[in-house]
Symmetry: C2
Subunit: 326 residues, 2 copies
C-alpha cells in the first residue's frame, strides 16, 4: 500500500528529486556515484514512477489503444499480436478494447482513449461513415485504421486489397467449374464488405458470368448471420453451386447451414471464404481460402502509428499488403 515517491528515493539517496528524475530518464549526465546511489535507492524502495504525474508534465504516454470490432475473430487476435510486438519493441504497451461492432461502445472507448491520453489508437471502425474519430483528432492523438477504411477522416490505413482478393477467389471457383456462385456479404457500412462485394462482381464479369441480385445475401460478419444467409441462398432453385463467404465467422455459420441441408463440400457445393480458419476443424483443406497477413498488418499499423506519435508529418498513407489464395 506504500506510496513511494521520487522524494523518498531522493531522500534515501541523498540527492534532489531532479537528480533522480535525470537518472531515470535519459537526462543530462549524472555523476556515476550518484547514479549508483539513486539506482540502489530505487531498487530498495521498489520505486516506480507515477505515470499520471509524469504525463502532466511531459504530455507523453506510452500506451497505445487498439479498438477492434470483434474480439472473437482470430483475424484481430493475430493482428493484435503483431501490433504488440512492434509496440513493445519501442517501449510502448498496448491495451485492447472490444466494440462488438457497436457504434456506442466504440465511441465510449474512443473517449477512454482520450481521457487516458493514449499516445495513439489503432482502430477497426464499426462503420465507415458513422464512426467518428473527431475526439481523437482534436487532441492530436493519431489514428491508424486496420482492415477497414474510414470515410469520415483521412487517416493512415493498413490492410489488403479486398477487391482483388475477392475477384481472385471468384476466378478460382469458376476454374473449378462453378457457374452459380452465391455471395454472403457483410455489413453495408464496413468497407471490407463493400470491397469484397465489388471484387465478387468483377470476378463474375471477368468470367463472363452475369451478376444476379438474388445470389447476394447480406450477413453481419458473425456466425449466426452466416448461417441465415446460407440458408437463404440454399433455398434458391436452381441451387448455387458455390458459396463465397466474406468473412471467417460467417463461414462457420454457412458450414453449419450446409450440414443442416445435408450438403457436403466440396462434393455437393464449393466453398470459398475470407480469412484464416486454421482454428477450426481442418476445414481449410476443402475450401478456397483467402488469407490475410494479419500479424504483419498489426505490426505495420503499429509502426506507422508510432511514427505519427513521434511527430512525423506525411500525407495519410494506405499500406496495402497482399492477401493470398490458399
Amino acid at each position: 500500500m506504500s506510496r513511494i515517491t521520487i522524494k523518498d528515493v531522493a531522500g534515501l539517496a541523498g540527492v534532489s528529486p531532479a537528480t533522480v528524475s535525470r537518472v531515470l530518464n535519459h537526462g543530462p549526465t549524472v555523476a556515476e556515484e550518484l547514479r549508483v546511489r539513486v539506482l540502489d535507492a530505487v531498487g530498495r524502495l521498489g520505486y516506480r514512477p507515477n505515470s499520471q504525474a509524469r504525463f502532466l508534465r511531459t504530455r507523453a504516454t506510452t500506451v497505445l489503444g487498439v479498438i477492434i470490432s470483434d474480439i472473437t475473430n482470430p483475424f484481430f487476435t493475430s493482428m493484435v499480436r503483431g501490433a504488440e510486438d512492434a509496440a513493445s519493441k519501442a517501449g510502448y504497451s498496448v491495451v485492447l478494447a472490444n466494440t462488438d461492432e457497436d457504434l456506442g461502445k466504440e465511441q465510449r472507448y474512443i473517449e477512454v482513449a482520450v481521457a487516458e491520453n493514449m499516445a495513439g489508437v489503432i482502430l477497426s471502425p464499426a462503420s465507415t461513415s458513422r464512426t467518428s474519430i473527431a475526439l481523437l483528432s482534436e487532441r492530436g492523438i493519431p489514428v491508424v485504421t486496420v482492415d477497414r477504411r474510414l470515410q469520415t477522416a483521412k487517416v493512415d490505413r493498413v490492410g489488403v486489397n479486398n477487391v482483388r482478393a475477392a475477384q481472385e477467389a471468384v476466378l478460382r471457383l469458376v476454374d473449378q467449374g462453378c457457374r452459380r456462385i452465391g455471395f454472403i456479404a457483410g455489413p453495408a457500412e464496413v468497407t471490407t464488405s463493400v470491397d469484397r462485394l465489388a471484387g465478387y462482381k468483377h470476378g463474375l464479369k471477368a468470367s463472363g458470368l452475369a451478376y444476379r441480385n438474388e445470389l447476394v445475401v447480406r450477413g453481419d460478419y458473425r456466425i449466426e448471420g452466416g448461417r441465415a444467409a446460407a440458408h437463404a441462398l440454399l433455398a434458391l432453385r436452381p441451387r448455387p453451386d458455390a458459396l463465397f463467404v466474406s468473412n471467417n465467422l460467417m463461414t462457420l455459420g454457412a458450414a453449419t447451414a450446409l450440414r443442416e441441408h445435408g450438403l457436403g463440400y466440396p462434393g455437393d457445393i464449393k466453398l470459398a471464404a475470407f480469412d484464416d480458419m486454421s482454428w477450426t476443424l481442418g476445414l481449410s483443406d476443402e475450401i478456397t481460402l483467402i488469407s490475410q497477413p494479419t500479424y504483419e498488418i498489426g505490426r505495420q499499423a503499429a509502426e506507422l502509428l508510432l511514427r505519427r506519435v513521434a511527430g512525423e508529418q506525411f500525407p495519410a498513407r494506405h499500406v496495402v499488403l497482399s492477401a493470398s489464395l490458399a
Copy 2:
C-alpha cells in the same frame, strides 16, 4: 489539438475553477444559475477533464484491467463481455491485455496496470505458483482471478467446480459404455488443469475403473497441443474408447487428429470436452460438453472487484458457479 482546461471553462462561465469542479463532480450544491452557465461552457468548449490530473488528486481511476491468458479462447471473450457490462453499469471502463500464457508478458501487463494506476484487475493467471501479483498488492490494487486460482496470494476468485464437472463428464462417458477413457490434460501450472485431472481420477474411481498412467497426456490448452496429445493417445493399443479433453481449443486439435486417423465420433470413439464450442461447426451435437457460465463469471468477477475497489473489506471469497453437462 486544443487543450481545454478547467480554467478555460471557468473563464467562459465567469466562475472559479473550483465551482466548475463542483458542478462536474457530485460536489456541494451550486446555485442553479451557475450550474447552467458552467454546463453551457463545458458544452461549448467540448471540455473533458484530464483524468491524469484528476487522479493525482483523488487517487481514483475508473479503469479496470482484464489480463487474460489467451484472447483467442472464446471462454475469455464471453467472460470479458460480462465484466464489461458490469463495469460500465458502474461507470468503469475495461481494458484488456493478452498474455498468451507467457509469464513475462503477464508481468509486463501487471506493471502497466500499476503504472496506469488501474482501479482493479481481473486476472486469469498463467501459473498458479509463478504468477506474482505482489506489485498490485503493494499498491493496494485489488485483484480477482477468474477461472484459475492463484497459490501465491489469497485473492477472490470466480469460477466453477472443475473437479466435480470433470468427474460428471467421466460418469457420463462410462454410462455410454466407455471403459478406456483417454484424458488430455492442460499445463501443470494451471489450477483448472490440475482440478480437471483430479476430477477425471475421481470419476474413474467412482465407476470402479482403474487409473492408467498411459491414458493421460498433457497438452498446452492450445489447438496443436490437443492434436499431438490425441495422436499419442490414439496410438495406444488397445485404443481408448473415449477421449476427454480438458479445454476447448485442444478439442479442435483432437478432432483434427481423429479425422487424420479416420475415426468418427461418436461412432468409433466418444468425445467429451470442457467449454463451449458453439463457435465451431456444430460439433456440440456429438460430444459430451461441459459448459461454463462464462458471461456470468465475468459479471460476478467485476462486481466483486468493484466492491473491493470501493474499499469493502472481507476475507478472500471464492465464488463457485455451476458448470453444466450438455
